[in-house]
């Protein structure tokens, strides 16, 4: 009923809760950048990723009535959910800019990198969503496991805490996570006025294209069976 508010309110609530728990209680410090701005810069793209997955995974089976009676490109179902998350991201991005100026941070010129980083993120997200939404047709476990894994993934990605607070011994593993390079790059271009670090972004780009290749291949290979199995 609240319509467009749902595009941004959940992020703001998460932001408020994170600020309370990680900043005020657990005393995580983020240097010169206010904690809430620091988190927001990563939380907005993260939310695009997580809601694409959470809504995209069950999207094919939710389209059952259409799927069993109409011929149409099956990928329209997960794509529509990614598109929806993208609209939410647009709202969150506008809110972030307003927030950044309100907090006295402003936006550096390197923010122009944003569309490029977003493109990489979309490629990664679409790849994963295509794979998981197709797999979910055959095994509904995917739908149940997805929110848990997304939650776990959030904790393992430096969204609510800086990468600098991660012990050196764990950094190697952290850098293997494609989302780490992505959120760090978003922060660099939106908060620190730095261009993305290619070394850091490499696992993300590789991961994104592997995911897209695998996801679109699997989806295309199995979509003809959806109507039979669903």
């Amino acid at each position: 009923m609240a319509g467009f508010a749902w595009a941004i309110v959940p992020s703001l609530i998460t932001l408020g809760a994170a600020t309370l728990v990680f900043h005020k209680v657990a005393r995580i410090e983020t240097g010169a950048i206010p904690y809430s701005v620091f988190v927001f810069a990563a939380l907005a793209p993260w939310t695009f990723f997580s809601s694409s997955l959470n809504f995209g995974v069950p999207s094919v089976i939710q389209g059952q009535a259409m799927l069993t009676r109409l011929a149409f490109p099956r990928a329209a179902l997960p794509f529509s959910m990614v598109g929806l998350a993208l609209v939410d991201l647009a709202v969150a991005s506008v809110t972030f800019v307003a927030f950044a100026y309100a907090m006295g941070e402003g936006l550096p010129i390197t923010a122009l990198w944003y569309p490029g980083l977003l493109l990489i993120e979309i490629v990664l997200t679409v790849g994963i969503v295509l794979f998981t939404s197709a797999l979910n047709v055959f095994a509904r476990d995917v739908k149940l496991a997805a929110p848990l894994l997304v939650q776990l993934w959030l904790f393992l990605t430096p969204v609510m805490y800086p990468l600098t607070s991660v012990p050196q011994s764990l950094r190697g593993y952290y850098n293997l996570n494609p989302m780490t390079g992505l959120v760090e790059s978003f922060r660099r271009v939106l908060l620190y006025g730095q261009a993305p670090d290619p070394a850091m972004l490499l696992p993300t780009v590789v991961g994104a294209f592997v995911a897209l290749a695998l996801g679109s291949w699997y989806f295309a290979a199995t979509e003809a069976r959806f109507a039979d199995v669903i």
């Binding site: 009535a65 259409m66 109409l70 149409f72 069976r225 039979d228 199995v229």
Partner: protein, 406 residues
């Protein structure tokens, strides 16, 4: 030119649940490898909904698909519509196609009637603007103006089906697959659909029609394909195929546990209010129908009754067709009958009915027309006339003398 060419179409489904899904999950070419490695496991719990079906349907023709439940009719439509793909064989379709599967077109329950119409239009390549221009026509057809902005989930099944059919009428299709559309919806809407379908046919549209209402199939199509366990067992003029089909269904029933002879009817006395009713005072006890020629050209019926002595009773034997339309009646003169049990014999020779399937109705009336007992039998008489190639203007065989002048 053929609108649909299906060649040796086989569709294999998995039955049962559980690990069967693992087989489906494997993408090609992995599945091919696994199939080669474990053929027995791969083929376990499968059945062929269609088994080598080859049908060509010329553009502009109308074909009815008949067969018992599970014969593969809907599967065939789904494959032609592109909803699913054949396991083996091929299907080629030319022309703009739309399908009504299970009497529904694939609406989304959360969207409103209007939004669903736009969505359906989009799925068939029509812009929102085009559909918006046609929405009044659609709503007018469906007679659901008041519900247009209500989510589909709050529609009754009949309303949803109305909107589905109405939306199809706006899609300018050249090839229409209709699966039991008229199972839902009231009589006036059914008539509207049938009229629209007739107009669609006159405009040159191709129609594939699935229905258990055989008289509708007979009226809507000139050719019927009879599917049985996924195979084509009959393909030809509708009248011929439908009669063979119903005849086979009757025989299948006769071969059932009651074990009666082919053209005998002896039915248990059950007054269920639907097939049997009456004021009472006299009851038909048993009916025995003989079809000596085996083709419905003549009938010999023996009725036994249970009644007190009556001065005058009228015995009737009538027929209704498979759609429930009354066809004709034979009535006796008022007869005085002795009390208790008795028998009446009725010989109808010739039976003036044309090729078709007819259910006998037997009745006992009092001379003032009061129905004492009226009983529609649940076994049919199958009439099969040779060379019955005529205009289909009803079931009565009108005797006539024909001659050719010089």
């Amino acid at each position: 030119m053929d609108a649909i060419v299906a060649q040796s179409v086989t569709k294999t489904y998995r039955v049962g649940v559980g690990r069967a899904r693992i087989r489906e999950m494997l993408p090609p070419p992995i599945d091919v490898g696994v199939r080669r490695l474990f053929p027995a496991w791969w083929l376990r719990n499968t059945f062929d909904a269609l088994d080598g079906v080859s049908i060509s349907i010329p553009a502009g023709s109308a074909v009815g698909l008949v067969g018992h439940n599970g014969a593969g009719k809907t599967t065939f439509l789904k494959i032609v519509a592109g909803v699913t793909s054949p396991s083996r064989g091929s299907v080629h379709v030319s022309g703009r196609i739309a399908a009504l599967i299970d009497a529904l077109v694939g609406f989304h329950p959360e969207l409103t009637g209007r939004e669903n119409t736009y969505l359906l239009g989009a799925m068939h390549g029509f812009s929102r603007r085009t559909m918006a221009a046609r929405i009044d026509q659609i709503l007018d057809f469906a007679e659901i103006e008041a519900l247009v902005d209500t989510p589909l989930k709050r529609f009754s099944a009949g309303m949803a089906a109305r909107l589905g059919f109405a939306a199809l009428t706006a899609l300018d299709v050249e090839l229409l697959l209709v699966d039991e559309v008229l199972a839902v919806g009231d009589a006036s809407f059914q008539r509207k659909c049938v009229e629209w379908l007739q107009g669609y046919r006159e405009r040159g549209g191709t129609l594939v029609f699935v229905s258990h209402n055989l008289s509708l199939v007979r009226n809507m199509t000139e050719r019927a394909v009879w599917l049985d366990h996924g195979r084509v067992v009959g393909d030809g003029p509708s009248g011929t195929i439908l009669t063979r089909y119903v005849g086979a269904m009757e025989r299948r029933r006769d071969a059932g546990p009651r074990g009666l002879g082919r053209h005998e009817i002896r039915t248990a006395m059950v007054a269920d209010g639907r097939n049997r009713w009456g004021a009472g005072g006299a009851w038909v006890d048993e009916v025995h129908v003989e079809d000596p020629a085996g083709n419905g050209s003549a009938l010999e019926m023996d009725l036994t009754y249970d009644a007190p002595a009556l001065d005058a009773a009228v015995f009737c034997v009538g027929f209704v067709d498979e759609a429930g339309n009354d066809v004709g009646t034979a009535a006796s003169q008022p007869m005085a009958i002795p009390g208790d049990h008795g028998a009446v014999r009725c010989v109808i020779k010739p039976l003036p009915l044309r090729t078709g399937v007819y259910f006998p109705v037997v009745a006992i009336l009092s001379p003032d027309g009061r129905v004492r007992d009226r009983w529609k039998l649940d076994r049919a008489v199958v009439v099969q006339r040779d060379g019955d190639l005529t205009l289909d203007l009803g079931p009565i065989e009108i005797p006539a003398d024909w001659s050719t002048g010089s």
